[in-house]
Symmetry: C2
Subunit: 124 residues, 2 copies
Amino acid sequence: KGVSFVDTLTRQAVTCKENDSIKDVAEQIISRSVNHIIVTDSQGKISGIVTSWDITRAVASGREKLVDIITRKVITTTPDEPVEAAARKLSLHNISALPVIDSTEKVLGIVTSEDISKLIGGRN
Amino acid sequence: KGVSFVDTLTRQAVTCKENDSIKDVAEQIISRSVNHIIVTDSQGKISGIVTSWDITRAVASGREKLVDIITRKVITTTPDEPVEAAARKLSLHNISALPVIDSTEKVLGIVTSEDISKLIGGRN
Ligand SMILES: C[S@@+](CC[C@H](N)C(=O)[O-])C[C@H]1O[C@@H](n2cnc3c(N)ncnc32)[C@H](O)[C@@H]1O
Ligand SMILES: C[S@@+](CC[C@H](N)C(=O)[O-])C[C@H]1O[C@@H](n2cnc3c(N)ncnc32)[C@H](O)[C@@H]1O
């Protein structure tokens, strides 16, 4: 069994801008049926991540602005990282997705624990 | 490589009651650092599931009652189901967790795509 790399599991990332509203981001999460939205700047570089868990935190705490719930210190991966290493990163930080970025921090896509768990389902 | 069963991956489920508020459930999701809450009746039997995605749907659509966002037709698993089969169920239905129930529909625990993805991280 050869090693597979993140590149093979990368899917298109849904992104938003810092000055979007919490409701805008919530609508994207629902319409795209995802849990993770990557916050990017005007050049497409990563500036944070916001998830359905963070929207839930806004509901629990009464926070009203997107900037108050964005996670800034984002754990990321690259296309050439082995999937096993990416899976260990997810486990270590108790997170369920890794933005895939290039050497200039441009967002190339995303890989989630749902995508990785599909590898266990086997070929059949 | 032997087959492993859901039993080995089952973790404790966080549960709520049908007449809890959306805010109560949101607070549990944050304080327990989970994404999935299983709705149970007075005998501990499963009656639905609500996730951070559903709370996000409440924000996107303005729904205010928990009963309006609970998913009723729950895909479940049992302790003796092979993990590979559970992983295929998650993939097939585009969901990220399976309540683990016994033959009387009593909730025994939960298994998530995060737990399954940890199997890919290897032993090291
Ligand atoms: C710590 S996890 C706990 C719940 C669950 N394990 C999950 O991933 O949703 C939730 C938090 O992780 C953050 N998060 C998600 N992906 C992340 C990543 N790649 N790097 C840093 N934080 C991330 C979210 O912004 C959210 O605040
Ligand atoms: C269809 S998924 C789409 C987003 C993403 N794949 C996820 O699982 O969060 C979101 C919906 O799945 C539902 N759901 C989660 N686990 C479920 C399960 N075991 N059976 C049925 N529905 C479930 C949630 O209640 C929510 O409405």
